[in-house]
Symmetry: C2
Subunit: 413 residues, 2 copies
């Protein structure tokens, strides 16, 4: 049984149209890294590029590097590379700040565009920071607005009415890997007169995303997961062309000004997406993200999706055959999931993950009972999917995870 | 005359108690860098530290580096190193986001602590992004608040009354180098029942700052000027102990949560200063700032101030003797200025600065007529102050700046 899975994986790896992309990353020998949905692996060019930025640009070029090394243009250039990965016009994307800060901006902008309405609709199971930001905004606006949370995707449609200003959802759920139908749900929002904001943190770089085709109003996303921009990489945001001229956001720092270097005491927003910037961008982190996006240069996002589905299909099959103790939390239908597989365990989740990591398979654990495995189509191999399932099966069978060293409770990000 | 100045400079350099600190930076040979008030020079350990963070921590350690490499603690550790430089308790400082975003947070917090009042007082000549952020906040809160700007520091006191919620000022003016009396003005604000927010962008690392002794309520500041954290380095904010328990800010992302990794859908602010964080911090930029703060390890801030005053005194004297065409904009009294000298010129300011840069003296130009020279006591030498004045005098005397290559209009940050 295992042999058949292994052989199939080898054939899939042999025929993998993205196999050559693995060499664009530096991964530790022998490690099966299935945590690119938390922190993406390091693209090979990063160390050299950062060394150059530090030594040639900062130390030697000093302040003039804002112009001569293109630092001032770097957020815009980085956004233009990122745009294709989410199906956006480059002029609609900004790379700036963190996902949380960016969500605050687009949520503020959306509420201002729909002033007669007071409700923000979302899912209770949305990524917590998204809910915290909405909560912070509601409190800040004096409690006149309201955050309405549903417990199941089927309740999203019924929750939308003429009180709903904005629907704010994650495209792929961080805990379950469930993928929402962005196009259909955005239509529901628009039919109710609401605007739609999508958090693409777990979908950008993992599956095909088409914010333009789905008629999305605003989106935000993360640079350090499937985009491999490095720990805490700058995040991005998307604003549809149709809102570009009217949209405004309250974090109107000098990098959002029409002429930041005119030092005019009066504020005037930049004409385009630049009005969604705020302060001076963190150039070293931006350089890493910019370099990281090079790995996508010739990659077709449809190929990413095909490989993601095949990888996760194979992993599901292997786990279900080898680890019957575990329950698949992620939808089995590939149309309903992103590029991560979540499994629940009746006991010992955290210890199982610690044992797995000790045995060279890196996923992560989400309380109370979920083992998460992210599959990054650019660098994960089919052979890894099968081997990870084998190692997991072995840990469960031998109850390795009951060993005292795996019982320590410790924060895992 | 020049010889006497040069000799004096050599003696001052010989006796400089901070002379050994220059070797802690990598500066291009022969360059006189007087732009540390815009982008600080690179501390020598940065390249090696970043290379380690990228290669060992990110590429090899991957996601576990949040714990094993201390990434998760890095903002707190960095804040604790920074605190001393501004006279703050480490528990009152957060290193996070940009100065603009941080100002939005503390301004929001201050308004919420003074709910019966609707005015934000500031100076028209404050750094523009500070005004833009206040403007964005006022617009966002529905126009019930008002930004009141004064044209001269003497008008600050009279502008404060029982309508003033917050007084928001820059400690050192970015364009003129003028230093405000933080203690006295904070007292004026408190006497009027207002809270005081200080922007330390041009004072932290440049002069002695004592936010505790001055009874400051909130402060923000910049990591990439005199703190040498690298282009767009993370910024900082300060919240007085007396506001710690009540203060709240609307950008309440997961890094401000009491238990970010509990993934609780309900928001609960962290107990201390951590509630002023927002999203995932940009680790590579944070690593650079953290490393950069090592250069201060044994540095007495009183010595910084002594050297800053001596350096700028010497530069003023040299410029006034050698360049009579220029007018000193910065106050002559060292008690009234920070660590930068601003000179106005009747004509050709931008071209003069371009010619200066071409001749190895880096300052910057601020429209319409100001030549700015920042003096970083950790790495600038007295000999450089005199040589810069000599080169400037030569450019003015020969009218080198009228050469066509210096007439090109180009953005200088």
């Amino acid at each position: 049984m295992v042999l058949e899975l292994r052989n199939r994986a080898l054939l899939l790896d042999r025929d993998d149209e993205l196999a050559h992309c693995r060499n664009r990353f530096r991964l530790p020998d022998g490690l099966i890294y299935l945590c690119g949905n938390s922190l993406g692996a390091m693209p090979a060019g990063i160390a050299e590029r950062l060394a150059r930025s530090v030594t040639d640009e900062w130390a030697e070029g000093l302040v003039k590097s804002w112009n001569t090394a293109g630092w001032i243009e770097l957020p815009r250039v980085t956004a233009s590379h990122l745009a294709r990965l989410i199906g956006a016009d480059p002029e609609c994307v900004a790379v700036t700040d963190s996902t949380s800060v960016n969500l605050f901006k687009v949520l503020s902008a959306a509420l201002a565009l729909n002033p007669g309405r007071r409700r923000i609709a979302s899912e209770r199971d949305n990524f917590p920071t998204d809910l915290y930001i909405a909560d912070g905004l509601v409190r800040f606006l004096g409690g006149r607005h309201e955050l309405v949370l549903v417990d199941h995707p089927d309740e999203i449609g019924p929750a939308l009415d003429d009180r709903t200003a904005v629907l704010m959802l994650s495209h792929v759920n961080y805990r379950t890997g469930r993928l929402l139908d962005m196009k259909r749900i955005t239509e529901l929002a628009h039919a109710a007169g609401a605007l739609a904001i999508w958090d693409l943190a777990h979908s950008a770089g993992a599956i095909e995303v088409d914010v333009t085709g789905c008629n999305v109003d605003f989106a935000v996303g993360c640079g350090y997961k499937y985009l491999n921009g490095g720990p805490g990489a700058p995040a991005f945001l998307y604003v549809s062309h149709r809102h570009a001229a009217q949209a405004s956001q309250p974090l109107s720092g000098w990098f959002s000004h029409r002429e930041p270097f005119a030092f005019d005491p009066a504020y005037a927003p930049a004409a385009g997406i630049a009005r969604f910037h705020t302060g001076t961008p963190p150039i070293l982190s931006m350089v890493a993200l910019n370099e990281a996006l090079n790995v996508w240069r010739d990659v077709d996002m449809a190929a990413i999706r095909r490989k993601s589905v095949a990888l996760t299909d194979l992993f599901i099959e292997a786990v279900e055959r080898l680890c019957p103790q575990l329950r698949l939390v992620t939808p089995r239908d590939p149309q309903l999931r992103g590029s991560q597989i979540c499994l629940s365990t009746p006991e010992g989740g955290h210890a199982i993950m610690r044992a797995l990591i000790a045995h060279g398979v890196v996923g992560d654990f989400r309380a109370p009972d979920i083992l998460r495995f992210g599959f990054a189509p650019l660098y994960n191999r089919f052979e890894e999917a099968v081997r990870a399932a084998e190692i997991l099966a072995d840990i469960l069978e031998r109850e390795t995870w009951r060993q005292p060293e795996f019982q320590i409770r410790e924060r895992v990000t």
